[in-house]
């Protein structure tokens, strides 16, 4: 038995079985428990059966949300999906998500300059070190007052919550570029900005992308908090709404859907990172 050996290489098939085991076990356990509950109480809403969830997800993906006016004209499948509850919720959330992630790039530039130009560092660093410790959610009431309860306050919540981390991370990444590289740049005739952008930024960029990837979870967390508290659309808004009447048959597929989307974004970014930076060694 080589389970407790550090110098072993799992064979292909056992490795495959092992890596899927917990998924299979989780699904089976759920099946079993849901089945039990439904046998005792056919109206159980806490653990919907798989059939119920599939049906609810199909409805979500093909029908508009309740309360939205339904167009009478017969629609094609694509049009129906586009107008469906799932699609409108996903689009609303994706839009906020993308805007927030895009707003993290200026944060990267700020961090870069703070680390490269000591006066910039002196001006900003202490402030952001403190700012980073503020619990962004505690500012939510202020954000609602300052930016209104629509889109801007939700995006500001994310930016305030995540940007300081990205800034400080970029500062650290920038500082970790070996001194030799900067001296080398000077001796080759590069000026301050050429060194900052063409030497330092270029070589930390794949690490910056990885740092943003690690923080996608935080972006999502703040986004969900914002949507659950004050929103009229979005995936988290829907989950909060359905929670009131125990719509677990939709909530569970929604949670998996969000995980899947986030997984895809992360995978996409990691692939893009490898494509853009073939020289990058993890």
């Amino acid at each position: 038995m080589s389970f407790f050996r550090i110098d072993t290489q799992p064979a292909r098939i056992p490795a495959w079985v092992l890596s899927w085991f917990l998924f299979a076990a989780g699904i089976t356990a759920y099946f079993y428990a849901a089945e039990q509950r439904h046998r005792e109480n056919p109206d159980d809403r806490v653990m919907p059966t798989v059939t119920q969830m599939v049906r609810a997800f199909q409805d979500a993906a093909a029908k508009p949300a309740e309360g939205q006016e339904v167009q009478e004209a017969p629609q094609s499948l694509i049009q129906r999906v586009r107008g469906s509850m799932l699609a409108t919720d996903t689009l609303a959330t994706a839009r906020r998500f993308l805007i927030s992630v895009a707003l993290l790039f200026p944060a990267v530039l700020l961090g870069l300059h703070m680390a490269m130009f000591p006066y910039m560092g002196a001006f900003f660093l202490r402030f952001f070190q403190f700012f980073d410790k503020i619990v962004a959610l505690s500012l939510l009431p202020i954000l609602f007052i300052a930016f209104g309860i629509d889109e801007l306050s939700k995006i500001m919540l994310i930016v305030i919550g995540v940007a300081p981390t990205i800034i400080l991370d970029t500062v650290n990444l920038t500082k970790s570029v070996p001194r030799e590289q900067i001296v080398k740049g000077f001796t080759l005739g590069a000026g301050d900005f050429a060194i900052t952008y063409r030497i330092v930024l270029k070589q930390i960029f794949p690490r910056v992308l990885n740092s943003i990837r690690l923080n996608l979870k935080a972006v999502m967390l703040f986004l969900f908090a914002g949507e659950m508290i004050a929103s009229t659309d979005g995936l988290a808004y829907r989950i909060a709404l359905l929670r009131r009447h125990m719509g677990m048959d939709t909530i569970l597929p929604y949670a998996l859907w969000v995980a899947l989307l986030l997984f895809a974004v992360d995978l996409g970014m990691s692939t893009l990172n490898k494509k853009l930076h073939p020289w990058f060694q993890e």
């Binding site: 080398k184 001796t187 070589q203 060694q281």
Partner: protein, 262 residues
């Protein structure tokens, strides 16, 4: 006079690393600097680069004191000498591109010039497309030398540039370096802790020697004759032994070394 170091003292916190260094290096010399690890060789090089400034004294290169590194000195450190995100060709062409106007960038001329330097330092056209991490240590240092020399710096500073290489590669690099020095006529300051390397390469060998218990270093010009790779092995061994005994401690026979003063 290419490099002029006058009565330089460097202190870190409470520790004095360099204690009154005087050094004059003429244009076109190949000066080896030897000394134990931690005696301040890199510190001296950083002073000449103008990356650091002395606590006391003055450092001039080409008759000027500088506030920060510039094109006066080319630099080949032991590690991190290449830009990891750029191909070999782009690494070598970087200096030419960054110092030209915005519109001249990526010009074919620069790339051809870079290729010429690469070929000259023993790399092929196929290597030019690779990234630094795909090259061996010796190849990387060849690129780093080409990258520095393409800017035609009056002074070339090398800090243990060959220390991480295996002996065979290292000997090849030493020969290459000497050839390049002869052709280019640059002043070379070559820091190493390998005495054989110092003696074989340098037209002059300077030792940084710790004086006394406090361990701050002074410079001694070990007046060794200029040897070449194919000189008599016995003579070489004798010289190496002499340099080593002189550079390890201060209480050496007086005849072997004289302080560098002009």
């Amino acid at each position: 006079m290419s490099i002029n170091v006058e009565n330089v003292v460097v202190e870190y916190a409470s520790r004095r690393v360099l204690n009154g260094i005087d050094l004059e290096i003429d244009a076109g010399e190949f000066v080896s600097i030897v000394g134990e690890t931690g005696c301040g060789k890199s510190t001296l090089l950083r002073l000449i680069l103008a990356e650091e400034h002395p606590t006391e004294g003055r450092v001039q290169v080409q008759g000027r004191e500088r506030s920060r590194p510039d094109r006066t000195c080319g630099y080949v450190p032991q590690r991190y000498s290449l830009f990891p995100d750029k191909t070999v060709l782009a690494n070598v062409a970087f200096g030419l591109e960054v110092t030209s106007g915005f519109w001249n960038r990526n010009s074919r001329e620069f790339r051809e010039e870079a290729l010429r330097y690469l070929r000259h330092t023993g790399l092929s056209e196929a290597d030019a497309k690779k990234y630094p991490h795909q090259l061996s240590g010796g190849m990387q240092q060849r690129v780093a030398i080409a990258q520095a020399l393409i800017m035609k710096p009056p002074v070339l500073l090398m800090d243990e540039a060959f220390s991480a290489l295996d002996p065979g590669t290292r000997r090849g690099m030493q020969r290459l370096m000497k050839e390049l020095w002869r052709e280019s006529g640059t002043t070379v300051v070559f820091v190493t802790h390998n005495t054989r390397e110092a003696v074989c390469l340098g037209t002059r060998v300077i030792a940084l020697v710790k004086d006394g218990e406090r361990g701050s270093s002074v410079a001694l010009d070990l007046e060794v004759p200029h040897l070449d790779f194919d000189s008599d092995e016995e003579e070489l061994t004798r010289l190496i032994a002499r340099v080593e005994s002189a550079s390890v401690k201060m209480d050496r026979p007086a005849s072997m070394a004289v302080p560098v003063i002009s």
